[in-house]
Symmetry: D2
Subunit: 143 residues, 4 copies
């Protein structure tokens, strides 16, 4: 049995480039943010029904520069850890030629929106996240 | 005979929103920039073959707030003026329900990339632009 | 008698540049937005007490490219029109050498935050705005 | 003897906020990018003389939300590792009240600008970086 991953064709913008003429590394984080929002909307049934989360941690590795292209790039996202009050989403970004450009792991903390404080994930959220659980990313360059 | 307009399904990003919970007005200019780049790439045969241009002037009118949606918004762009060394691109942005959110007119100046100075549009550029010529936008709120 | 203008030393960011190696024209609108927010905060006594406004219209003219520099650029802003339910803010952006890079006029509409609809400016708002009233910008390139 | 750290008063922008009404986490990476560029410019004697580098890896931990304020936030940056062809810059971001909002470690790879490939750091670069060497950040939430 394999878990279901979320795949997004993400439209690049000319303005994502910086003066090095590639998609800026901060904008790569912007692309990953978009995939995360859409993955959660897909898994939880809509942008308004998604679990309220804050980003607690993010680790990105850049494998090769991403050029601006008219065709979309591809982001594949999945859950790589489910904890008590937090979970990790892993994702990869590949260019239209299929080359890996970056990979990311983001830790999201579940928030009780009435208090703004961290709160345990609901049973339902744990169950939904579990349907999309896959392996953690093999980060190569951690010091 | 009608000129050919360029239509783009533009993907919104959650990060385009500001703290008012709508797509930020500066990001609307970013969306229009993207449509402009893609229209010129389409009309001139690719991102590398496009005429070298700088933005000299821009006028935007905001008709109604654009909400972030998973479905793309639509931008339609056309040429609204062709001059000797500059031209105008007009565009409209509508949300997935077809409601007009913003309209823009942008003046682009032709640049000789070897000198960085303004230069007359080539005959070929004038001809290409002429194929996409339409009416100027009816801006309502000019003071 | 001269009205009081708002002057802001605005810090540029390397990431404001696009692949042309200058501050991107959309980011220039971002810089003007920041000056607008701070001017209103200054005039109305704080970011939380400012009049609730939406951008209805914006006209920008770009005079010369703005290079990224470690020193801040300068934006000067003033009110150029006060209407019944809207007003215009004008502003200029100059680089550290004092060269004019861009000028903008932005129409802001007063909003009743309980209904989200346009509402007349209060007497107090009209009075505050009047203290910063100056001439409209001489836009040169309107078609 | 303590190494010299780089401290930057960084101006926040209203547009850095997202719809959660705090400085967006991707924009926090933008702020750290700015500090990195300015630290290297300071240490290497100007933006044009800085070592040519690409971001290979970045790890950010978010400690508490950063509110938009008219006063600048503070970023302190230092070198946390010097390798053969790469080095790490660590940095912390604190709000005007002195509260830690985020900390980051970024791995930069030295690039030979004529070939675009990774190249050993020069002796001079190693020496300059060594003058700003401090402890690595204690990341708490690595899985």
């Amino acid at each position: 049995m394999t878990s279901q991953r979320f795949e997004l064709a993400i439209q690049l913008r000319w303005g994502d480039m910086d003066s090095f003429n590639h998609v800026n590394n901060v904008q790569v984080a912007r692309l990953f943010e978009e995939a995360r929002v859409r993955a959660l909307a897909d898994w939880f049934g809509g942008p308004d029904m998604r679990v309220t989360v804050l980003v607690a941690r993010q680790e990105i590795e850049f494998a090769s520069p991403l050029a601006y292209t008219l065709e979309p790039a591809t982001i594949v996202a999945w859950i790589s850890r489910v904890g008590t009050a937090s979970f990790d989403i892993a994702a990869t970004l590949t260019d239209p030629a299929g080359r890996l450009c970056a990979q990311v792991s983001t830790t999201l903390v579940s928030i009780d929106s009435s208090t703004g404080r961290s709160a345990p994930l609901t049973q339902q959220a744990v169950s939904v996240l579990g349907d999309h659980l896959g392996d953690p990313l093999p980060f190569r360059h951690r010091s």
